[in-house]
Symmetry: C2
């Protein structure tokens, strides 16, 4: 039995050829030939069954045979905005694992106590694409460039917005309890497509750097409509907190 081969091809329906990296893999590793069946993922909700029509040493042309639109596995838009860790590999595994579990957008924040001010987002994007393929996700999470904390929180966003932090002096609710109760309400309305449109199920959650957000940043976020929350009693590293937040959001929003 042949294994099903998935290739990531943005805008696959309007293309006729695999992107260069995917073509290299198809031709050199899998040794595909004309007539072979392949599956394309456009990262925006569709898989396509296609056939290789021509394969040279470097190029792989295809013809789409079937459009297979996929069902969403969770409601709303799950957006994690996190301060990158000093050791980049820690954020890299988090990006891989969060993609496997299922989320929509990854932003990087430049915070007051950030030790890292540069992020190679193309490298993170590659890791995300690889996890999308490996875990057969129909939607590819969007990876954003690093931006300033202030700019990020001042950008309007639909749905509920949360900032996770460890300050005792700022009142905190429990993140999972908050998003879970909200989700049950929208279950009751039985109209998930309407809430998908309105953004009512959307979750934006902020996770700070190794030294946490500054208390001024927390207060500024609260002033900008972010709810102050805790991820629980466990003391978590930045990247673990990011993954825990994504997983909680995924559980609360899964369909």
């Amino acid at each position: 039995m042949k294994e099903v081969r998935y290739f990531y091809v943005p805008d696959a329906a309007n293309q006729v050829e695999l992107p260069i990296e995917e073509a290299t893999h198809a031709l050199r590793v899998l040794r595909l030939k004309g007539g072979d069946e392949i599956f394309l993922m456009d990262g925006e909700g569709s898989f396509y069954r296609a056939e290789v029509t021509a394969a040279s040493s470097k190029r792989c042309l295809y013809e789409i045979k079937e459009n297979m639109p996929q069902k969403r596995a969770w409601k709303g838009h799950i957006h994690l905005a996190i301060a990158p860790t000093k050791m980049m590999e820690r954020i890299e595994w988090m990006a891989e694992k969060a993609t496997e579990i299922g989320f929509d957008e990854l932003s990087f924040l430049n915070c007051q106590f950030s030790e890292r001010k540069v992020v190679k987002t193309p490298r993170i994007d590659k890791i995300v694409i690889s996890a999308v393929k490996q875990s057969h996700k129909a939607w590819k999470p969007v990876v954003k460039e690093l931006e300033s904390f202030k700019e990020f929180i001042q950008t309007p966003r639909p749905g509920r917005k949360f900032i996770c932090h460890c300050y005792e002096e700022v009142e905190k609710k429990d993140f999972f309890t908050e998003i879970n109760s909200c989700s049950m309400d929208s279950d009751a309305s039985q109209d998930s497509s309407a809430s998908q449109e309105s953004g009512a199920d959307d979750i934006t959650v902020l996770v700070g750097p190794e030294g946490d957000f500054s208390i001024d940043e927390v207060r500024l976020a609260v002033e900008n409509g972010y709810e102050s929350v805790s991820l629980g009693t466990s003391r978590l590293r930045t990247e673990t907190a990011g993954l825990v937040a994504v997983h909680m959001a995924h559980i609360a929003r899964r369909i």
Copy 2:
């Protein structure tokens, strides 16, 4: 302000000296001297405030000043039994992250489709200890040696037992829904110490190797009282499935 220094000292109350590795760190890296305050974690529920009484080049003696028994952050015993992955570093990060989140026991299973038949558990135990210290956990998860799948499932265990797998032909319930509803019942009884004693809140969950359990293994587990479950619709790598299972159990049992 001096940072609080935590040292892992099994049976700390009955010892008077830091174990050799901890002593090396205390003396060479932190350069502690007689009179310095340190904190000991015994990995079994207690922290101790102690004072360094004598420090030579290799040995560090202490005297306990205060016993600080810690409260448990979750109910019951959370036990993950997992088939080790081909690449050991994947299980290593899972052990670190699961410890940060909070669980009690990690077992390794030798399964029919296991690609790895050897696990260096002392190395995993070191990673777990380091995560216990870093995340200030009062209880150290126990790390067990690799054992055969059959032996493991035939050992009697209190509480509920689950096997996660991907077979369509074996009926599966949703793991999180199952453990969450059970937890709500025991919340209602308001008697968590009794359920802690009885093991009613205990969760044992099995995660298979890259190629999944064999269907015979799944059936054998079910015959031995394991409930057949799914972790959701996402296709997860072995180590991600292990972490997701631990995190779900932690959420369902947190106090």
